[in-house]
Symmetry: D2
Subunit: 329 residues, 4 copies
Amino acid sequence: MFDPRYSVILSNVGSACSDRFMSGGYGQQLSIEEQFERAAEIDSVKGVELIANAHISSKNIELIRENLQRTQLKLVSIIPDHFGQKKWGKGAFSSKDSQIRRDAVAHTKEMIDIAKELDCDLISLWPGQDGYDYYFQADFIEERGWFEEGVKECSRYNKDIKIAIEYKPKEPRTRSFPSNVYSTLLMVNEINEPNCGVTIDFGHALVAYENVAESVAVLKKYGDRLFHIHMNDNYTFWDDDMIVASVHTIQYLEFLYWLEKTEYKGWISMDQYPYREDGKEAVSESIEWLKALNQSINRLGKDVIENLIKKGDATLTSKTLRKLLLGGV
Amino acid sequence: MFDPRYSVILSNVGSACSDRFMSGGYGQQLSIEEQFERAAEIDSVKGVELIANAHISSKNIELIRENLQRTQLKLVSIIPDHFGQKKWGKGAFSSKDSQIRRDAVAHTKEMIDIAKELDCDLISLWPGQDGYDYYFQADFIEERGWFEEGVKECSRYNKDIKIAIEYKPKEPRTRSFPSNVYSTLLMVNEINEPNCGVTIDFGHALVAYENVAESVAVLKKYGDRLFHIHMNDNYTFWDDDMIVASVHTIQYLEFLYWLEKTEYKGWISMDQYPYREDGKEAVSESIEWLKALNQSINRLGKDVIENLIKKGDATLTSKTLRKLLLGGV
Amino acid sequence: MFDPRYSVILSNVGSACSDRFMSGGYGQQLSIEEQFERAAEIDSVKGVELIANAHISSKNIELIRENLQRTQLKLVSIIPDHFGQKKWGKGAFSSKDSQIRRDAVAHTKEMIDIAKELDCDLISLWPGQDGYDYYFQADFIEERGWFEEGVKECSRYNKDIKIAIEYKPKEPRTRSFPSNVYSTLLMVNEINEPNCGVTIDFGHALVAYENVAESVAVLKKYGDRLFHIHMNDNYTFWDDDMIVASVHTIQYLEFLYWLEKTEYKGWISMDQYPYREDGKEAVSESIEWLKALNQSINRLGKDVIENLIKKGDATLTSKTLRKLLLGGV
Amino acid sequence: MFDPRYSVILSNVGSACSDRFMSGGYGQQLSIEEQFERAAEIDSVKGVELIANAHISSKNIELIRENLQRTQLKLVSIIPDHFGQKKWGKGAFSSKDSQIRRDAVAHTKEMIDIAKELDCDLISLWPGQDGYDYYFQADFIEERGWFEEGVKECSRYNKDIKIAIEYKPKEPRTRSFPSNVYSTLLMVNEINEPNCGVTIDFGHALVAYENVAESVAVLKKYGDRLFHIHMNDNYTFWDDDMIVASVHTIQYLEFLYWLEKTEYKGWISMDQYPYREDGKEAVSESIEWLKALNQSINRLGKDVIENLIKKGDATLTSKTLRKLLLGGV
């Protein structure tokens, strides 16, 4: 029976999200300590992810260590900051400026060292600025090549630390290089290091018109490369970063089933933007949905589900799912 | 307690859907009699909608009457054929050819007469070919004007028969004139006849990035113009015409709630394209989902829901919906 | 011959755009004076639009007056700030909190007074936070009603100042109330004041799957309500706010033609987010494109175009546009 | 200087397109001979593509041979029919039924033999029915595996005949297996035969939110796998199959540039659905646009373009493209 561990990106439990119109943030900023407190107060949260600069740097390692110990939360991953400093504005690993490309690698290595020091074995790499905006703006071959070289160098730096590339079709660039699960797998295959894989962000996958269960399967098929997961929901056109299951329902069931079927062993981490919500409540809701959806799928049972998939009869599957969710005949 | 009546577009219960690649159809054609039989075999189906030419014409009125009597199904609406004859290829009510515009009106009047004869009080008008494809192809002002004139003339022809315009952003044109609920309401306001209103097709509304509950509300607010409903589901990018609730779940709950709140009295009709499914099973599933979803929303109760809407607290609403669907804390 | 006047939203000429990942901004902040200088340096820019709080408030009217005089730029419109203060986070005119609704109106009236004082006759109202995010979160009827009441009160406050509502399907809310041209027209009709109309933002219209030429025509048809225009471009899925004509070309030709045909007399204002570009250059490029596109359409001539529209023959139109843009046979 | 050869899918020059609402077709059916005549009448058309069953089968090889000789058109590719026969309704290479999978391979081999006989070295494989529609309907791993096995077997059958897989995100399935350029490359890598590559359909790529120039580059980077090209245009949401450059302009320039840069040697074939147009005129227009766009890009010159790409300055690029298309400063 699939029984995943849940974690959260630390600042999700606060309510200080900003956007380009409300640049000062919708709510109030909390201290790191307060954020750790709030994360730990959510029963099912057993780990945290930290974002470089926003939460962690070489200057506050001890502070972080103390907070981890105090709250008994596991450090699940560090997300290097390749998106929030002015110097990354036109790309990090694939910047046209070779110094910036070296900086992107150096910053990642620094985070790998910090991860090791804090007993964390995963870097979740979101290269949000690697891509382009306009036609005739990028040398797609050269720049993808630079991206792959840089991440390869990071992967080889410490083979005990996994590097998981998080894909997204767009935002903040209008076109990102690791744009969907297939694009990223091609990169990972080219990098060809056992500790380099992929992070699925559920909402990013939806924007890429992926059925996220299929994304899980594809990562299994081509090299068993699913290393990490970020959860949220959206209306399929944009990364709205909403509470899990606020828009979709059945798609989560199929997703959870395929995590079990492909023997996913990693964490499931919440990655939301609760602009106008209480962050702690929003994260807690997401995990409660996932737990309840997972119980449903476990209740249905692997044999029943495999049989439905084998038959592929949409009306029979509809009937089964309907009874599972709503009871009746 | 909201307890709607369910109907079906006759050929939905068959399995002879075609598309542009499988122009001969995915399954086998059934006779009109067989289609009536199959519709009647679905317990909750109490009415049928008939499409002109495909199902009904001035030449087979007695055949239809017999089938209605035999199966005890109510004729809920007639859908004139403004989309399937070569002459409508470049538009019907808004065709650049005045003779075709007159034909579009004449065909509608003919169907109004047949409706009257068969004790049916609704024409569901889907002007699928009214719109355009290319830039610089349409005189938007003149052609929308023609559309409104034509439908106004039809509305005044028999004030006892309602005319409900069904909107859709695209397909078969890349751009349709009655493209979304707001566009259609502007037309209906201009037509300004009490018996002229709107048909919501759930999937068409999704493709227009509408929250369909809001579409229901908007039709109430601006003149109480919701006359009819077509049900199906899709992935929000195209009119996939799938089984109800195969993609969305919660959106149907809100939709059903707003139907009750706005005191919708019409039929809820299934409008699917079960290309690869058994049509009868697919329609039956859609209705079973709607009945079960409606029971859930009734179980929750109007007071609870109104309180959630008044508060607008997404986390509280999430908790309530989660328990409703999956139980637990 | 159509010969529009061009203006710009002041901060567009800077390069300090931020987004939710780069909250500190991609470039450096400029002073108000520097921004005015840069705007005035663009030859074709004859006017500016100012955003409340960001650029203008009751506290700096004299500063603004001096800058307008020094640069000889006309104040084209004031955009009240209903999106960037924490109090508007859950809505302004349609907030569930009646005090905030009153504040939204009061802030608008304050801007109307300032506009009058600075010889400006237009308020471009972008109610970015009016809408909702989640299912079961909004009372669509009541909240749209509040919106209409509030804007009506503002419209009646000073009948010499036009109020132009700018629509957008989403962002920052996942679902906005004035979501497309038709939705906004219904509101404007309900408000029913001669000085209340609509601002088209080209990119917002694209995201709403509008052909923007058609949006212009629709505003003419239903009451001559096009009061103002914001220009940019995008890939049709999101408000990327790019340089004009960086993605689309022919659509601008049809748009400009319909502005002429409907006798649009207002300003055409640039509204971009040059995150990674020099803002002044990006704005200048947009205007140069518009001027050159407008020359092309003038060269083609009204008779030729009207004839193409009357015929609606896509291949003939293609040939004409091809020769216009690329020469040849 | 890039100087590609142009071809057309035979029936494009007719006007008999149907869709699911106009199943009898918008225009009149032409004979094979008439279609060949019309294709040959378009000056720049030097080759044709034939669709199995619709145009070619083992029963009419001599007829086809005569028509090719008479019109002096080269047979550019054969497109096996894996989409238009009832038996493929639920998939061909990835069907759950092993007999149908064998049939899919057998039919392809038959077309390979015919291709050889007619001196044609390319099979353009469009597996339109390989995919699924509903959640819990497909075993993604097993079914993708079957797909790859089947195509591998076809590729090995005759190493002198290239097999080019044409991808598409959806339609006729709501979700296709070779869904985008990256997904298809993963399959091609797995198949791992030198004569197995990819067909880009311009419009399919747009629907996948690809910048098609980037798709060309990616196919170069990961194994030089671009074997064939289908041209058309659309509004980016659906495969509208419109005349080339009716919606986009600059994107074609970048696309043509990258074809040259990556030394594409294949044909460029028109693949449109001129539902309401004269097919011959619509095809002719597409090629005239491509020729004129290609001349423009050649006029600009490789050095200038490479310099723009190296700089990546969107405003400088905008200026250059503006002058290229519209003249001026």
